[in-house]
Symmetry: C2
Subunit: 535 residues, 2 copies
Amino acid sequence: METPASEPSPAASLSPYWLRDNCPCAECRDPRNGQKLFQITDLPDDLTIAAHTEADGRLEVLWSDGHRSRYPSGPPAQEGGDGRTEADKRLWTAADFARGIPEADWEAYLADPAERAAVLTAVRRSGFAVLRGVPTVDRQVLRVAETFGHVRVTNYGELFDVRVEPDPNNLAFTSVAITPHTDNPYRDPVPTLQLLHCLENSATGGDSGLVDGFRAAALLRAEAPDAFAVLTRTLVPFVFRDRNTELRADRPLIDVDPLGRIREVRFNNRSIATLRGSAEELDAFYAAYRAFAAITLRPELQLEFRLDPGDCLIFDNVRLLHARTAFEQDGRRHLQGCYADLDSLASTLAVLHRRTAALDELAALFAGEGAGEYLGEAVTMAEHMLQAGALAEAAGAPPHLVAAALLHDVGHFQGALHGRDLMQGQDNRHSDTGADWLARWFGPEVTEPIRLHVAAKRYLCAVEPAYRARLSEASEYTLQVQGGPMSPAQATAFAAHPAATDAVAVRRWDDEAKTADATTPDFAHFRPLLAALMT
Amino acid sequence: METPASEPSPAASLSPYWLRDNCPCAECRDPRNGQKLFQITDLPDDLTIAAHTEADGRLEVLWSDGHRSRYPSGPPAQEGGDGRTEADKRLWTAADFARGIPEADWEAYLADPAERAAVLTAVRRSGFAVLRGVPTVDRQVLRVAETFGHVRVTNYGELFDVRVEPDPNNLAFTSVAITPHTDNPYRDPVPTLQLLHCLENSATGGDSGLVDGFRAAALLRAEAPDAFAVLTRTLVPFVFRDRNTELRADRPLIDVDPLGRIREVRFNNRSIATLRGSAEELDAFYAAYRAFAAITLRPELQLEFRLDPGDCLIFDNVRLLHARTAFEQDGRRHLQGCYADLDSLASTLAVLHRRTAALDELAALFAGEGAGEYLGEAVTMAEHMLQAGALAEAAGAPPHLVAAALLHDVGHFQGALHGRDLMQGQDNRHSDTGADWLARWFGPEVTEPIRLHVAAKRYLCAVEPAYRARLSEASEYTLQVQGGPMSPAQATAFAAHPAATDAVAVRRWDDEAKTADATTPDFAHFRPLLAALMT
């Protein structure tokens, strides 16, 4: 039933342009990547809701320009955030890590998506994590950065070596103590992540320290709100000069978002050049700056630990301040560092979560709906697919074909038409549906053999008379619904497809995987193989 | 004369912590790179000016903690800015480029520092420039970026190809028109520069368009201040998702600095996800957004031009919106693009300016003071140095030795002690002074032979009796002031120095370069050679 928009209802209380801008239809939004296909100026000036219906949680809107929008779950959800402000962080003092800092073993981090997600979550929430047992190999720090993002090259190069240098152009390359600071504040955009990989540390001293700059800023706001406000609005000139470089960025020490939430901290007295302002403004700034600096030095905020060879510290360079105690020149100390950015780290983490959710969804399908569906065979759909996967594995097939065999029929559960529709004479095009659904996580090496596995049956029926004779009763029935054997021209075209051989292999495992009460590995057995194929 | 701080004077009206934070002494500030060597918390809580003197533009301060600061040019200058806001830009409409857009030939850009500076200045001030005649070679766009900065790698890789793709994950890879937008707003930090290098463009259509987003934002502020304010404070969720990526950044469409000046614009309806807010807030946002979008489409703001093969467009991606007209698939169109950042571009430009200023300073020295100094020889200092440079050049010496010969005596003009002091019996250590001064622009291959050219005289006197006999009268005199011939142990140590051979070569040209009225090239002749050595 369509209701005039003037009647009171949830839809009538929504912002019309907002609602229309979120129309999910394929004309408005690319179904593959969710990017919008219209410009905001394409919408008419007098857009209104002409009529709408709301039922079973769905919302349909007829617009004054004739467009029709269907929101399957009601008005679009207003969710999430980019996770970059204090609102999404766990602000800490050193005591919060009395039982240990966030850390993981390098091999486990590489092998286990859950371990990788835990490390990246720690960097995002607490601002840091340490990987242990990273090979002490030159340039290895770049490999670490590439596990979650892209290296940001600076005037120091792709990476920098932190060790005593004979003619240092930067305090980092001496053995004196360095108080808590952020790096590269004279860059805009500043690198938002830093990595420090310890190759050698046999010197006395030279421990690492971290301070939560967001916590320090929040303390300043609580104790001296005026000083906090001064630091959010005073432009501080950060400068770095050497023979080939002259960088300058004018940014506040504490950057807040339009809602007033702390989102970035810059702190590095070494590179603060001459501020501009009246004597009163400068007095107010220096009083606030000194108050903030004093907070960053409070003992309870200093988290100290030692980096040993093989340790790689990853930390948020627009939040945490890092420090180093002085060290004796009685041993060698050598770190390699590089910069990267938080956005790619957050993307990698979101994709890891998405993949875990997808594997959970597949596992639920095998355990739930798939375990109850028969489609005319002596085995359930789950048994059928597990058998196909196991046959592929036993045949020594490469992982992508094991996955294709294992997942070849998931389309029966995903499309508008169900496997049951197929059995009632209506082609549910499950090979396409399944391939499209899986393409969100798997590459074409997995999806295309699945897409072609029905065509492969029609192909084999055309070119191998003995093949058709061996089809199960149900399979012979669906063959007709799916179009029957291919014509010679169709068969020639099919054979030329790059994925044809793989599709035929999947088809043969498919046909064999119909043994009642066969023992197969369960879905969990295949999960690591699937996880590896998702990257 | 020291004045009590209570007396009225300019110094007394200065902010004490600000003044002390800018103390230029070698204890407070590394003389090589200007980085500060103390923390702001190292200063006492009750810092005051105990006494000060001001005379001849100089300021000296005695601080309450006993430290003494000397400001040779008076209170520190409050100059400059990072050049990133509208205040330092030339806001434009298309008509401003009726006589042509900022452009340069690739070869001239590479060869001529002035041409390079002009291009980079255009990008900084107007937001863009086009290089013509860039070789149409795969990956050449990366070489262009490396002439002024560092490539920013993204999920699209080190570079991306813009051409029609069979299964595009982004609208850029289709042939439809693309309205003005900025790239990658879902990244934080967003890449601040984009490069587009045309390799092929034989299609009908496919022209490039640019809009000055700062100008559009300034127009919105003038015409609808409330709408402008809404866009500076509404956090817009920009999102991009594909199989391996899930990026999100919540940032305003118009970012202003704490002084309210426009500093960044993000504009891309394709990637705006679902905003949060009340219906009133969302209505206000969409009204403001549509008003801003309408301004960006005004014909007078559209600058259109065609990129032909070999053209490389460089533009500010946090200011300019870029667009593309639709094109027919009647020809091929292929661009390669990459991202980089404004901070390195500004650094490269500042260093170019600094080098030009240094060459101007050297030219002035040869034309001015150097032309009037004799130091006991039959030639002026300028003639002497030009002769030495010309002798090195005639001998086929590599550029760094020609430069070392040309500049070996500049230390006579730079140190606390002048060449005249040397002639009055006081060693002015001009080889060290000159080498240190030149090290701001030249590498050790130029500075170290200069540093050792006096030692080389003492060395040659020790190891070649005939050499000493040929010294000029003045040179024999200064030999004594400089320490006389080396001992055998000193000579052995000298010969082991890596720059010893070069220093001896410079020394021999030095000794020969004392011919009255010899004809030599002028300083301008050597300028390109010096400019090339500065990079």
